[in-house]
Symmetry: C2
Subunit: 213 residues, 2 copies
DNA sequence: TAGATTGTTAATCGATTAACAATC
DNA sequence: TAGATTGTTAATCGATTAACAATC
């Protein structure tokens, strides 16, 4: 039996997967753990250890076959499955993300947008259908939307999450300034990304530089 | 001598700081580690441990004084110092961030924008001065800009970073799909945030659910 | 063969959690 | 006083790093 995969490893495997797409475009046949490590910013041991969670995939002496490794990672992590997503909060940031179609390489598709401001909805020009936030539960359920990206003001984030969960959402990327966490009985994955908070963090690291490595 | 502060702790202290701003607005006088923990999604022990890196600030039995704790965190992490920042890459995402002035509560100020496309620059309506990317080094240096946010395509990220570092930048938030790392001799903090990669990560977590807690 | 590179084990490192004495 | 809550120590947990035998 293959053991549980640690979260940091899952994260790196996702990065490796993206990298392999790039190598495939360049028609590279094989790649070594050293080459991968240099690109994603970790040591070659880490890369080998991470990949070893998927089984024995490499060839001693010559490295990994690009297409084979990509297939293994994709299958194990379910990265080849198409996922439907929605954006909640159609301010500048939300609209920018909704229309960033190019970055959704392959398996993600934004199928709906939501905003509390009905007047704003009328002004949005896009192929993607947009709805008022009161329709979240019904729309998410009807379209079997699995993931959501939150770009609403921090104070309304918690309420929106409740509705998304009510509609059966499976994962949420929270770009609001609020820190959200799923309560015990709810099986939803929440990833908090606070871009502006990140400025503070960098600023703090800089202040503490020296004493802190 | 106070020991080195771990990175996860620094990150949480930043979150606590934001929270304290909120409590201050609500005119709360004191707050307990339990209350803080509930809001940032960690246990009360973690909160106490984190705060204890700053010294003995709380009062046994009644918790922490909001304003006192905020002052301590702010001073130690340098969060009260005003920082100048710039945005490189003025596509939809970059413009959205540049104009998100409201979220820059207090200590961050975006003083410049850059884009490689000179025609695009002409069309941008904003109070913030914008420049072609070839002016990065000179502009960053002249204005003593400390932080940069990168919203350029992945393939040009590395080249832009070189210029930013050439201008003396201290921290970079990288929102491109490329994973960047500072080489040994460069003292710059880089934070990689791949919003679209995060979708993959969530999708993988969901796929592995059950076997992986 | 000789050089390269994997997969795995063991050692190290660092962070989180638990528990509790101290005390307002 | 009794209840609440801190700061700290010790125990646990998990991830990273180092090293190397195996082998193409």
């Amino acid at each position: 039996m293959v053991s549980r995969i640690p979260k940091p490893t899952i994260n790196r495997l996702c990065k490796i997967y993206s990298l392999l797409e790039e190598f495939e475009d360049k028609a590279e046949i094989t790649v070594s753990s050293k080459a991968i490590g240099e690109r994603i910013g970790v040591g070659s041991h880490s890369v080998r250890k991470d990949i070893s969670y998927l089984g024995e995939i490499g060839t001693v002496g010559s490295g990994y076959e690009v297409s084979k490794l990509k297939t293994h990672i994709g299958q194990r992590l379910g990265l080849n499955v198409e996922r439907k997503a929605c954006v909640v909060g159609l301010g500048k940031l939300g609209r920018a993300i909704m229309q960033h179609e190019k970055l959704f390489s392959g398996n993600f598709k934004i199928v709906a947008g939501f905003d509390a401001n009905i007047n704003l909805l009328e002004t949005i020009v896009t192929d993607i259908p947009v709805y008022p936030t009161c329709d979240i539960i019904e729309t998410v359920r009807r379209n079997a939307i699995e993931f959501a990206i939150l770009t609403v003001p921090g104070h309304s984030a918690q309420e929106i999450v409740k509705r998304l969960i009510g509609g059966g959402i499976k994962g949420i990327i929270n770009l609001s300034s609020a820190t959200l966490s799923a309560s015990m009985n709810e099986s939803v994955f929440i990833s908090n990304i606070d871009i502006f908070g990140e400025f503070r963090f960098l600023s703090a690291l800089f202040t503490l530089e020296g004493e802190n490595k």
